[in-house]
């Protein structure tokens, strides 16, 4: 028994001394950079795309079956390609945009291409939750479609959009970890290079913990923001 405790103590000491703090800090920063840059750009594309999907949808304010179906198919195509494949598929494009196909910057174009359609669907879904009666009231007041979008839809769906953001950013985090497979940098890269190729279980374990903490923080912050911004809840 005493032997076991001593041994355990020994193992823990070994783990701590073997930890390369610089590696973890750098790769965490790389991960954060990838996740937030690509989320930001993906949202710049995803919000307008989601809005167009919503307004051209059936019985919406600017129904257009043709446009809706075209966009819907495009979104579905990009969503059905596995990220790891997309990563390789869009390499020429990545090279053209960021002039490299390795490192954290190189992961951003495929992350954006993959996340934007996903975010568009999340946004479309959030807008669907806006009370049709409120949209009708705005129409009755003489609001234009653009005013309905900016002053009704995006305002009324804010809490739901924030919940969607928590889910979308977490998904992007998951994708970004896959980027390690092509030397993309970040925590995923560390997990694959050290944990998988070199079979360093401790490194693998630590990166997983770090990723888990990041997911928890993202989830917590956005849910908190969503709840705080929702005026339907009486605090």
């Amino acid at each position: 028994m005493i032997f076991l405790v001593l041994n355990l103590n020994n193992i823990i000491n070994q783990i701590i001394s073997s930890l390369d703090f610089e590696l973890y800090i750098n790769s965490t920063i790389e991960s954060i950079f990838m996740i937030f840059t690509s989320s930001f750009i993906a949202y710049l594309i995803g919000i307008p795309l989601g809005v167009v999907l919503f307004i051209t949808g059936k019985d919406s304010i600017s129904q257009n079956d043709f446009l809706y179906n075209i966009l819907s198919i495009i979104v579905n195509i990009f969503r059905s390609i596995p990220f790891i494949i997309l990563l390789i598929l869009v390499m020429p494009f990545t090279k053209f945009v960021v002039h490299t196909v390795i490192g954290p910057s190189a992961v951003i174009p495929p992350l954006v291409i993959s996340a934007a359609p996903y975010i568009a669907r999340m946004v479309e879904q959030s807008l669907c939750e806006v009370d049709k009666g409120v949209i009708e009231a705005a129409k009755a007041m003489g609001a234009s479609n653009f005013q309905i979008i900016t002053k009704v839809l995006l305002v009324e769906s804010k809490p739901s959009l924030l919940v969607g953001a928590a889910i979308s950013i977490t998904t992007i985090l998951g994708y970004s970890a896959m980027a390690g497979a092509v030397g993309g940098g970040g925590l995923g890269d560390v997990a694959i290079r050290y944990g998988y190729h070199r079979y360093e279980q401790v490194t693998m374990f630590v990166t997983v913990i770090l990723l888990l903490i990041m997911v928890q923080i993202i989830q917590y912050v956005f849910m908190k923001l969503a709840k705080k911004s929702d005026k339907r809840i009486i605090n």
Binding site: A138, M141, G142, V155, E156, I234
Partner: protein, 336 residues
Amino acid sequence: MENNIIEIKNLKKIFFVAENQIVALDDINLQIEKGSIFGIIGLSGAGKSTLVRMMNYLEKPTCGEVLFEGMDLSKLTEKSLRELRKQIGMIFQNFNLLEQVNVIKNVMFPLEISHMKKEDRIERAKYLLKLVGLSDKEKAYPSQLSGGQKQRVAIARALATNPKVILCDEATSALDPKTTSQILELLKKINREMNVTIVIITHQMSVIESICDRVAIIDNSKIAEIGDVKDIFKNPKTEIGKKLIFGNYVENINELNLSSNGKKIRLAFDGTNSNEPIISKMVLSANSNCNILYANAKEIDGNVFGEMIIELPKDEESAEKMKEYLKKSNVTFWDV
């Protein structure tokens, strides 16, 4: 002619659902006089909500015309239609307020759409909130308000752009009776003091009774009856009119049937002879008995309207005498 703010001519609306055609409205003709309170009543599914949406062209008619101050709405471009809608306020059963913004911003919303300056918007919103009695709720969110308060906010919002007409789509249906009468009082006040024409859609006859000047009864997609509220109440001509005005009238008759099998008539009192003891005199004139099975009276605009169901005596001669007396006294009645 020029007194009509809204005029509807030969209007028809067909909805296409999958392969089916559903006629929502057919052969609708009506005029709404400027400054009046016009009621549209019908059972649910009768097409009245569709009808009110034709008046601001939220729904476009399949054929027929909708005229606003003599102007055919089908001739307007999208842009001028939006401008026109600013002259027509609308309130709803579910209030339809923006849930994520506070009360004053809700009232300011139509003004923001019209690009009014911010200071002016605030000033106007404050004035309107005072008018509807909610000055102290400026910063509250809709979720913190009661149904009646929400509807007051909606009314303030509808008035923001100084509309000529306010359309009310079942505006009191989600409210309790006391709140309903307060909201109706407010609408009446707005109608009188600001000379805003009000169109009310409802399934509650009590709403029509308490504030409307004229009423159209919609049944099976068509106008069953249309006229002054007083006339319609005095003498509803259609089955649906009777059903709506005398509420549970039909059920009452069925219940009463169990206990009596004589000949029954229904009397309608229009308030012109409320000082006369009609029934006593009728009984005396025939020198026979009658049985009062049901009676109901309501006051509309200071006149007492009522109805009564009586069972006539079995002997034909006395029954005839009673009927003759009623005819002579100008009381409307018919067999039931």
